[in-house]
């Protein structure tokens, strides 16, 4: 049945409509594939009963001619999304067996569109990490391996479970979240397509918060078209999220295959960082050539404050996180470790419940917000953020339609390889992606080739606010020019 799992959703959708197979059959194939792929550790919770029940409902709707946009889609859900009646932990011990009595807005929309939940996907604890190695459930394994090596590689982070599952064909699409690159970097590491929408495009309601002003929900999918289809059902205004924006959701899928003729694509010189591998450099110029060949105009642009983005990000994000994670105190839900008094209970609970990276960021966050340091760190970081935003505004105002950059500075690295590296080295993974979050812009990561070691490499396209359509159109050009990249099954 694995051939069912090799179809994209666009292909499966056609077959489901033609009744070539049922949604139950499709989802059963995925449940079997999941079982065979448990060694990848992509899922932290499988929900086969829910999957089969919802798949049967999908079949009934298809039979009645009432199929939704995602009808029957075997979906993996990042464990950061609250799912009604299904354990949700953000891959942290502190949430214990927390089972929310509510469903996140985004997954509610997807379910209404007919998506079928297969289970909950691994992620870095509270989405803090770039390799998914901070998860309380262990690290998911990248379905890709270096040529001639069976060393386990990371699937990126924080949405490593989502990227691994999509690349391993053990879900057809996955929800993910992106605070500094957590959708785009894992997608880049696994040959999948990841979309970080404009801030405010998807509701954050019901998604465990990391850094509220940066977090956005988005999909990881097999190809650009599938990503566009998923986005169409994830986006939308929600009055329960005050930062959600009430603007119509366009037909994203229609943008896939749209001509890019006459579009101006900016190539920012500041992204040519020191020590950038030659193959990344080559991938980038090749992508520019491909867009040019499709009729786009390539222009060099300048985003002068780029180099300050990463340090500023690592002030703003931990600051918000230190406050957002205060609610995990052992009082109302999740894990509690007793103490002699309330203060000791807090200390015991949070020491036992949070992993080291989360603790580090809470401490950084508390520090940069504390009296006497607030102006020097938090306020300055916010000023930098404004400048980064202005950089992009200037470029877009000059008529640039989208910006092309590498997605990551390298291909996927080995599990444990960065164990002895300083946290800052790990943070460098986000160097090309954080600017997009800081500016609240949409960004897409699209596979564009393989490294010398045979690992996927990706390019990033950054768009104007709420112009995801141009990103789908341009990403589709890159995808068409380079083909799709699929990991061979070895697991």
């Amino acid at each position: 049945m694995t051939e069912l799992c090799d179809l994209t959703f666009a292909e499966a959708r056609k077959a489901l409509a033609a009744k070539e197979f049922s949604a139950v059959e499709l989802n059963k194939a995925y449940l079997e594939a999941m079982e065979a792929a448990r060694g990848l550790n992509a899922y932290v919770l499988e929900t086969p009963e829910i999957a089969l029940e919802r798949a049967a409902e999908s079949d009934a709707r298809i039979a009645r001619g009432e199929a939704g946009a995602l009808e029957g889609l075997p979906l993996g859900v990042k464990d950061l999304y609250c799912t009604e009646g299904v354990r949700t932990t953000a891959c942290s011990k502190i949430l214990g067996d927390f089972t929310p009595p509510y469903e996140s807005h985004v997954t509610s929309l997807m379910r209404s569109a007919g998506a079928v939940m297969l289970g909950k996907l691994n992620n870095d604890e509270f989405a803090m990490g770039s390799s998914n190695e901070t998860s309380a459930f262990g690290t998911p394994v990248n379905p890709w391996r270096r040529k001639g090596s069976d060393a386990k590689l990371v699937a990126g982070g924080s949405s490593g479970g989502s990227s691994a599952a999509v690349a391993a064909r053990i879900c057809l699409g996955a929800t993910a979240t992106d605070t500094g690159g957590s959708i785009r970097q894992p997608a880049a590491f696994t040959g999948t397509v990841g979309v970080k929408p404009t801030y405010g495009r998807c509701s954050r309601w019901g998604i465990v918060a990391f850094a509220s002003s940066l977090d956005q929900a988005g999909p990881i999918a097999r190809d650009v078209r599938d990503a566009a289809i998923l986005m169409g059902s994830m986006a939308g205004y929600d009055k329960r999220d005050s930062t959600s924006v009430d603007t119509p959701v366009p037909d994203y899928e229609a943008a896939v295959g749209r001509s890019v003729k006459g579009l101006r694509i900016g190539v920012p010189k500041e992204y040519r960082v020191d020590g950038m591998p030659a193959e990344i450099e080559k991938l980038w110029s090749q992508g520019a050539e491909q867009l040019k060949a499709a009729g786009a105009e390539i222009v060099e642009v300048s985003l002068p404050h780029t180099k300050y983005a990463l340090p500023a990000y690592y002030i703003v994000a931990p600051a918000e996180a230190s406050s957002n994670l205060a609610r995990y105190d052992g009082v109302r839900y999740g894990a509690r470790v007793a103490g002699r008094d309330i203060t000791e209970m807090y200390e015991n609970t949070r020491a036992a419940g949070f992993g080291s990276e989360v603790r580090r960021r809470i401490m950084i966050g508390a520090y940069v917000l504390s009296a006497g340091y607030y102006d020097a760190y938090y306020v300055r970081a916010q000023k930098v953020r404004t400048l980064i935003k202005q950089d992009f505004e200037t470029v877009f105002a000059a008529g640039v339609d989208a910006i092309l950059t590498p997605a990551t500075p390298s291909a996927a690295f080995g599990v444990g390889e960065m164990a002895n590296a300083s946290p800052v080295e790990m943070y460098l993974n986000d160097v090309f992606t954080v600017t997009v979050n800081m500016a609240g812009l949409p960004g897409v990561s699209v596979p564009a080739g393989l490294s010398a070691e045979g690992l996927p490499l990706a390019l990033q396209l950054i768009g104007r606010p709420f112009d995801e359509e141009t990103l789908f159109a341009t990403a589709a050009v890159i995808e068409d020019a380079n083909g799709r990249f699929t990991a061979d099954r070895w697991w």
Binding site: R204, W205, S322, S323, V331, Y346
Partner: protein, 492 residues
């Protein structure tokens, strides 16, 4: 407003061993906003419900829950700002105040730290005998209330009730413009009156819907401000006064002993009559304020402010001025009558039917006195404004005497009925027929020859005769007529 050049009235100073001291007081009033729902969630704000029954997912800070501003609370804060003649800030922001406590589920309180919705304003406070002080308002901001920790239910555990968690409060911060406990009490009373007029807070201190943090310092008159202490969470006007007096004396004692005041947070214990240190400046929390990223800046249109201003009721100061002007009542009576909007309305209904000055007398002395004694609110007064108005009219046109009027009031209070009909049916009309009065006077004089002799020698004894005549006439005789006739007959 803070200029130390203001010469304090010596009556407000506290005499110490080293001379007189002046108290400087500033108040932060926490007023619960009258609204159906909480500040950032749809939960009810009802009081007295069983614990944790008015708690939404947002109030309990479940993972992934987000605050959504209840605009009705914003409108109430703006109305309040307009009520104290304050600047309304069209753009304001919400910040997070971070600290850990079990009754604070989010681990932070959403408040307005940097940019409050209401800026500077002023409250005029009557101190009696024509003296007025003006107390500056520094700011009013919106914030969430915390839940309630309950420590006395279990020897080992504490319980938490989140019904109050997330309820909207207005923090009304005054400038340090008060110089005595009386001024502070009068300010809180006045502010409470304004809030109740506007309907933005019910001012119910018993339910904790209005409570004060009291900042107290002392100084020698004319000297710069001293170091202040903050007394937290004082929940009655009487206790505010006591806390200030107690704290000021404590500070004076320390200073006169050559000590210095530590800036700290204190608690007032009304049972022991003392304030106790809660935490010092060094132990003060670092609240790590920062803008709440879940909420956009609060932007209000000037047109909405204008609309709210147009819809405000007549405020106490304006009403008082109008009562003095239109009804000719004294400033003191006008102040008393306008303390509560309902009382003022009642008075106007009475005044419409009879002489306003008589009406003011009856409302303040008879009606308020009786209501206070019975603990009955004016809205439930057994005597209606129409009835009291009828009574006042009967007094004013001389149909009944003041003494009879009191009896009539008693009948109205206990039995009800129409005043004019009661006067008719029970024969309470004042006797102005001089012939009838003369007859009674003659009888009294004839019965008391010895007193007549004494009265001729000492005319003040005529009062005794008046009393006897009134008694004999069942209180119905016109007192003026009795007086005149008696004087004539006794020849004094």
């Amino acid at each position: 407003m803070n200029a130390p050049s203001k010469i304090p009235a010596s009556s407000k100073l506290i005499a110490g061993a080293t001379g007189d001291w002046e108290i400087v007081i500033g108040l932060e009033i926490h007023a619960q906003v009258t609204s159906e729902a909480k500040l950032f969630s749809g939960s009810s704000t009802g009081f007295g419900a069983s614990p944790n029954s008015h708690v939404s997912l947002v109030d309990a800070a479940m993972p992934g829950m987000l605050p959504v501003l209840n605009h009705e609370c914003v409108r109430q804060a703006i109305r309040t700002g307009l009520g104290v003649k304050a600047q309304i800030n069209l753009t304001s922001t919400f910040d997070r105040k971070n600290y850990f406590y079990p009754d604070l589920p989010q681990g932070y309180q959403i408040s307005q730290y940097k940019s409050p919705i209401v800026g500077e304003g002023v409250v005029i406070v009557d101190m009696g005998e024509g003296e007025q002080i003006s107390v500056g308002i520094e700011r009013i901001h919106l914030e969430q209330d915390a839940g309630k920790s309950i420590h006395d239910q279990d020897p080992r555990l504490s319980f938490v009730d989140l019904n109050r968690s997330g309820v909207a409060l207005m923090e009304i911060v005054s400038k340090p413009d008060m110089r005595s406990s009386d001024e502070a009490k009068a300010y809180v009373t006045k502010l409470r009156t304004i809030l109740r007029y506007i309907g933005s807070c019910d001012g119910d201190m018993d339910k904790g819907n209005l409570r004060a943090d009291v900042n107290v310092s002392v100084r020698k008159p004319g000297a710069p401000f001293g170091t202040r202490c903050e007394i937290k969470n004082v929940n009655s006007i009487r206790f505010i006064g006591q806390a200030i007096e107690t704290e000021a004396r404590r500070q004076i004692e320390i200073l006169e002993d050559g000590g210095a005041i530590d800036q700290e947070t204190r608690l007032f214990d009304p049972v022991k009559g003392e304030t106790r240190a809660m935490r010092s400046k060094e132990e003060a929390h670092d609240y790590r304020y920062f803008p709440d990223p879940d909420l956009l800046p609060l932007v209000v249109e000037q047109s909405e402010v204008d609309e709210l201003a147009a819809g405000l009721p007549e405020l106490p100061d304006d009403k008082k001025a109008r009562f003095i002007r239109d009804y000719g009542v004294t400033p003191y009576d006008a102040m008393v009558l306008t303390l509560e909007r309902e009382s003022a309305d009642f008075f106007e209904q009475v005044a419409k039917r009879g002489d306003p000055k008589t009406a003011a007398n009856w409302v303040i002395n008879e009606l308020f006195g009786r209501l206070n004694k019975d603990g009955t609110p004016i809205t439930e007064s057994p005597v209606s404004a129409a009835q009291l108005g009828g009574l006042v009219k009967l007094v004013a046109d001389g149909t009944i005497s003041g003494k009879i009027a009191k009896d009539l009031f008693e009948i109205l209070w206990t039995e009800g009925g129409d005043p004019r009909e009661l006067v008719e049916s029970r024969g309470l009309k004042q006797v102005t027929d001089t012939g009838a009065i003369e007859k009674v006077v003659d009888e009294v004089i004839a019965a008391n020859p010895d007193k007549v002799e004494q009265a001729k020698a000492k005319p003040t004894l005529a009062g005794w005769f008046v009393g006897q005549v009134m008694k004999a006439s069942g209180g119905k005789a016109n007192p003026q007529a009795v007086n005149d006739i008696l004087k004539r007959k006794l020849g004094i």
